[in-house]
Subunit: 345 residues, 2 copies
DNA sequence: TTGTAGGCGTTATCAC
DNA sequence: GTGATAACGCCTACAA
């Protein structure tokens, strides 16, 4: 039943030429006669030939495979990034192996090991929220396998990073709330060991400072942004208190949507009682009531940017340093969840 | 800079044994002396040896890689399925290559070809919405590479399929609306060439029939369930008419959320004017106002089921037929978007 | 423009 | 318990 695999030798034999010529023909080598090439391709199609990547990889010491490790795939942002990466990378003849760390350092380490053993030509990583140790990336560095970090990056390794201007984003979000009359702005965010959350926090603080508002520890919560965590945080730190904040800046749209739901459930009006700003411009931010003001996060652009850098590096002489810090622009998208002043544009 | 790759020969030389023994030791072959094994493992660790999968694959004619082609990754359902698949499959020593068809037959064909050339040991597919021709799967069949279809399946190929009971789900959703007093239930769904949508439609029709309600062509819309499509459909077919439907059954939660937003925007009250039921139990169905009644879709369970079938097949003698149709159970999750009768529990 | 030869790193087979 | 050898299918010097 199992058909025998066709090799270049089979083709060579049938065509009365050498396997070398077949190999070259298949690769469109310029030195091969066009007619010969045509005969090779025709026969290859006829016999159902498919090149054996292992043999080829084994010989060339290159896999044409790029590994991607992300915390999760289930956000619009992530799938946009991946979509962008995939498109560019496919066009350049590379394949993608994608894996999820589910926000766990341990899974990230396992994934990294797998990628390493699969001998990916390059690695693209967005760190899990609790990754504190980076030794699982050392083998890549030792073997000169390029790593690009995006979104959730680290300064602990000096690789190329692609990020948005999280400081600016945090600043814009906070300033917007201030402009809307908010003075007690609760900031709920992820693990601030991660650059994205740390930088957004800095932006938040700077905006407060610029508007003569003191930063208050009791208006800052760091958790995992899950539904349960949002619930606990809001019930304990907000709803049970007498004095409510008048603004809320959450660094992820799903979490912002949870928050919205929870607050409304507690009888609060959005944006009148509390104005809300999210982050990412995920689909979910558009279907809540009211829709959520958020930060646009250009996933596709980021993905394509990452892919281009990597491909230029891999297909080039491999020399140019892979140490650049690329910062993409971002904007605030204003929706009803935060508009409290009619006069505001 | 680039360190030389360590091979079993290097280990063999240093240990004064043969490469064969090293290979066996690394694989924990029972015939090898425990002490020898220990020496091998220790040295391997010390020298930073990693096995070369290509050489191994080349030799064994097996890749330990499973390909997955899905329409999109950005739904909770899909990531649950993948998560389930990944967990089981990883434990069994397999890797996953994941790719998205973005609902296009052409991309699906390209992806399939890539998977084929990567010599995946098996393929897991959820069809793109517009796939009408299945010839891209022929090469797999010819080579006896198992294919499992899940969710979006086809009867055109008799492979194993894993689905939920879409008929029952459609029936439950529709009957629920009827129980809530709805009589003119609009059904908006995807391409009914796809089993999932076809079966849900059958369930919808049967529920109507069982309650002496005539099926009306003008209350049935098939589109791509995108935001734009929902907008067009609802504006043209619903809002501009004098007579409104009193129920809406949309076969995907994002689309249901869009619908909810659009209808509310047109001044309609949910569920009083129109009761809404979605599908999938995605996150998004819980954060709209009101939250959306939906069908629970057990993604994780489905993923694990798929993985188990495949692994049993691959690691077994490969004999057992891969032709079973597996149907998982499902439920209706009732939320405020459809509750119109106080008496209803 | 085409061919020869050798090796990429592993594992199956057979032998000891 | 261990080893020698060949083969998996391809690609790249070098040769012609």
């Amino acid at each position: 039943m199992q058909e025998k695999e066709v090799t270049i030798y089979d083709l060579a034999e049938r065509l009365n030429i050498s396997a070398t010529t077949v190999s070259r023909g298949l690769q469109d080598h310029p030195a091969i006669n066009i007619k010969t090439k045509k005969r090779i391709f025709d026969l290859a199609a006829e016999m159902g030939y498919r090149s054996n990547k292992f043999a080829s990889n084994l010989r060339r010491q290159k896999t044409n495979t790029i590994g991607v490790i992300v915390p999760r795939l289930n956000s619009l942002f992530m799938s946009s990034v991946l979509s962008g990466i995939e498109r560019s990378v496919n066009n350049a003849g590379y394949n993608l192996i994608i894996s999820q760390s589910f926000e766990k350092e341990s899974k990230e380490k396992t994934n990294a090991k797998t990628m390493f053993n699969n001998r990916v030509d390059a690695l693209i990583v967005s760190l899990s929220s609790d990754t504190a140790d980076f030794s699982h990336f050392d083998p890549f560095l030792k073997k000169n396998i390029p790593i690009i970090f995006f979104d959730r990056t680290t300064e602990a390794m000096n690789s190329t990073t692609v990020v948005i201007d999280n400081f600016k984003a945090g600043y814009l979000a906070t300033e917007h709330l201030i402009t809307q009359g908010c003075r007690e702005i609760l900031h709920i965010t992820g693990n601030i060991d991660r650059n994205v959350y740390a930088d957004r926090l800095k932006g938040y603080k700077k905006a407060l400072l610029d508007h003569q508002i003191d930063f208050r520890e009791d208006l800052f919560i760091s958790n995992d942004l899950s539904e349960g965590a949002m619930h606990d945080a809001l019930i304990a730190h907000v709803i049970k208190r007498k004095q409510l904040p008048d603004g809320l800046f959450v660094t992820n749209d799903s979490a912002a949507a949870f928050a919205l739901t929870i607050l409304k459930g507690a009888g609060l009006r959005i944006p009148e009682d509390i104005a809300v700003v999210g982050f990412n411009n995920d689909l979910i931010s558009r279907v809540t009531e009211p829709p959520i003001t958020t930060i646009n996060y250009p996933g596709n652009e980021m993905g394509e940017r990452i892919a281009r850098i990597l491909i230029d590096h891999l297909d080039g002489d491999g020399n140019p340093d892979l140490n650049s810090q690329i910062v993409l622009n971002t904007d605030l998208i204003i929706r009803a969840s935060s508009i409290r002043k009619k006069t505001y544009e």
